[in-house]
């Protein structure tokens, strides 16, 4: 039993945090809002240079051959930075799917940074970053397809988050490359959904922490009644409550990464718990964040909006709260339930 990250994993996380801190500034994000693609090709190349795009690609295909546990801390950093480029979907969702389907050429292109891959969460769902990405992984009935984005018709659907780029996709399944169908297709769809929800959960965790930091900074500097408003208990307790929610969302997210990486039988339940807990933390961070920023929190000018809007967007992406609650409920209330003290790690052992 060792529920910790290794020193290497922590050091890698720290270096990625520093990189994103320097490269993904609020100014650079705002500048991207006004461009059609909303994305930065140079940054994508730099992420590939660091080995990030190919983190889960096997070494034979030019990647680092790491797993979901290695990446979950980095997905958290992508959230903290509100990174617009589709690193989490490409690495955490598309890569394992393509690996399973043996798409070596696409995997090699991911590792070099030549290609990004956008993923559809469920059949008919809007696809984030479909235009920036060279490939799309799409779904129809029980099959999963790989489609060149040039072969699909994309229509931009604007999001409240100016950093998001969502598209409705028209495409012809009969012309597309099948990655899996039948029972294997259904299993692959389920795996994709779990991976995507895990990625969203990790980002929400990072977003929550960033919103706490911004709120602490603002309330430490803003003076009223002759002192910083952050010295008042009413303000402190708002942020303390968010800190509690965030602190207790971390372990469920990391456990979900472990369960997915090891294909545990209750991975779906663990992912849904993680997504629910991280969503709760991040939406509370947004609500309390805007409150302690006062009127400034309601402006376009203050950077809180960048992270708040990403949190609102990801709260509903990769499964609504209702869907995730239903998945946990079926395990907790179902006839096979096995609950109580000592059962937490039963499926791992």
């Amino acid at each position: 039993m060792n529920f910790t990250f290794s020193e290497d994993q922590i050091l890698f996380r720290d270096s990625v945090r520093e990189f994103l801190n320097n490269e993904v500034t609020a100014e650079s994000l705002r500048a991207r809002w006004d461009t059609p693609s909303g994305r930065c090709k140079e940054l994508w190349a730099a992420l590939a240079e660091l080995g990030l795009t190919g983190m889960l690609v096997s070494e034979a295909n030019g990647g680092l051959g790491m797993n979901e546990i290695d990446f979950v801390l980095l997905a958290e950093e992508c959230g903290r930075a509100a990174l617009p480029e589709p690193l989490v979907d490409t690495v955490l969702v598309a890569t394992p799917v393509l690996q399973q389907a043996g798409k070596d050429d696409v995997l090699a292109a991911i590792a070099t940074g030549q290609s990004a891959v956008a993923v559809q969460a469920t059949e008919g769902a809007l696809v984030a970053d479909a235009e920036f990405s060279e490939y799309l992984i799409l779904q129809e009935n029980s099959a999963v397809y790989l489609v060149s984005s040039a072969d699909a018709t994309l229509e931009l659907q604007e999001s409240i988050d100016p950093g998001r780029r969502l598209y409705s996709v028209s495409w012809d399944a009969s012309q597309a490359n099948v990655l899996a169908d039948g029972d294997r297709g259904v299993a692959l769809q389920a795996k994709m959904f779990n991976l995507g929800a895990l990625g969203a959960a990790a980002q929400l965790l990072g977003l929550s922490q960033r919103m706490i930091e911004l709120s602490v900074n603002y309330t430490s500097e803003r003076n009223q009644f002759g002192k910083p408003i952050g010295s008042f208990q009413a303000v402190k307790h708002h942020l303390a409550n968010v800190a509690v929610k965030t602190e207790f969302a971390k372990a469920p997210v990391y456990r979900a990464a472990y369960s997915v990486a090891h294909n545990l039988s209750d991975a779906a339940q663990h992912v849904s718990h993680a997504k629910l807990a991280a969503t709760e933390a991040a939406t509370q961070a947004a609500k309390s964040g805007i409150q302690v920023h006062g009127a400034m929190g309601y402006t376009w000018e203050v950077d809180l909006q960048i992270f708040m809007k990403r949190a609102w967007a990801l709260a509903g992406a990769w499964g609504s709260r209702g869907e995730h609650k239903a998945r946990v409920a079926s395990a907790v209330f179902g006839p096979e339930r096995s609950l109580g003290a000592g059962q937490t790690f039963a499926s791992a052992s």
């Binding site: 039993m1 430490s220 008042f232 942020l239 807990a277 109580g340």
Partner: protein
Amino acid sequence: MDLKYTPQQQEFREEVRAWMQANVPSVPLKSFDTEEGFQQHREWEKTMNEGRWGMVTWPEEFGGRNLDLIQWLIFEEEYYRANAPTRVNQNGIFLLAPTLMEYGTEEQKARILPKMATGEEVWAQGWSEPNAGSDMAAMRSKAELEGEYFVINGQKTWSTRAVYADWLFGMFRTDPDSERHRGLTFILVPLDAEGITVRPIPQLDGLPGFAEIFFDNVRVHVSNRLGGDGEGWQVAMATAGFERGLMLRSPARFQETARRLVELYIENQESADQDPAIREAVLQAYMQAEAYALTTYQTACRLNQGGKIGPESSTNKIFWSELDQDMHATAMSILGARAELLPHASAAEGVGRWLDGFLFAQSGPIYAGTNEIQRNIIAERMLGMPRA
């Protein structure tokens, strides 16, 4: 990261389970807030000690097994699964003992720990005073050194277990000119010493679970000072740290409550589902108990590797105390008209335990540092917000 138990950990679990199955009393003990129940619980501590299960993390010389925190969590899981009695000496074994291990002299450890382990000496806490509750540094009870003895005068209150306990640990002002956190000394006091009056305070269930203690020229030998003169605050903070942390409220307790809540809901689902909020609350209870367990395992693994408990541990107290309140409130909602029945009412058969738990859960956000104080600590020490 590896979330599998080792074969040794699995074996240890089996060993605890077998012992608990063979030894946990089949008839629940009376409340330890009654004289009879207190003695029953003291006996249980003795039985535990005979099996060397009293405090598995302690060194072997004091009756422990020198085990690590993961094994401690496994022990607790089996303990609560077996529905074993609540630990009457929890102030001693969970709060004082870790402080003794860190600050006690060899003489003190050898004198105090073995008797604590057998339940021969049960401990009470002496922190709060009538004018020093959340503002603990305002305490004024004093201890003046006369030769080899402290002479203690003053008053403590809300002292849990003090009515039947044998010893008390607490802080007293040894420097009469000192203010606030300075000049306080951590002293261990035998409750049968001359000059001590213990006045029971009936708690919400009518039983004397805590007490006021009056000190009138009570003489205590200087060998009962824990840590240095005037260092009481630092020593006490270590105790409070453990209290908020892993020992006092391990996750197993809440996971078992969550499990029972799920079963209660399923047994009463038809009526419970008339209020959709109940199903949601039961689901949340399960997830939160699970989150508390996961987070605690994470902390325990970090500490096993030499890490330290940080200010984020202040989030624990808020999390478990509010979870406990929510779970019991949900149970009361499910029970409807049966909820108000005292446990011994025949019509409460099988569900009376929920009311006891509900009452006790009301104290959770208050004892061991109110949740408001915890929120201040989180804001100031964990988040770095400006002090008031």
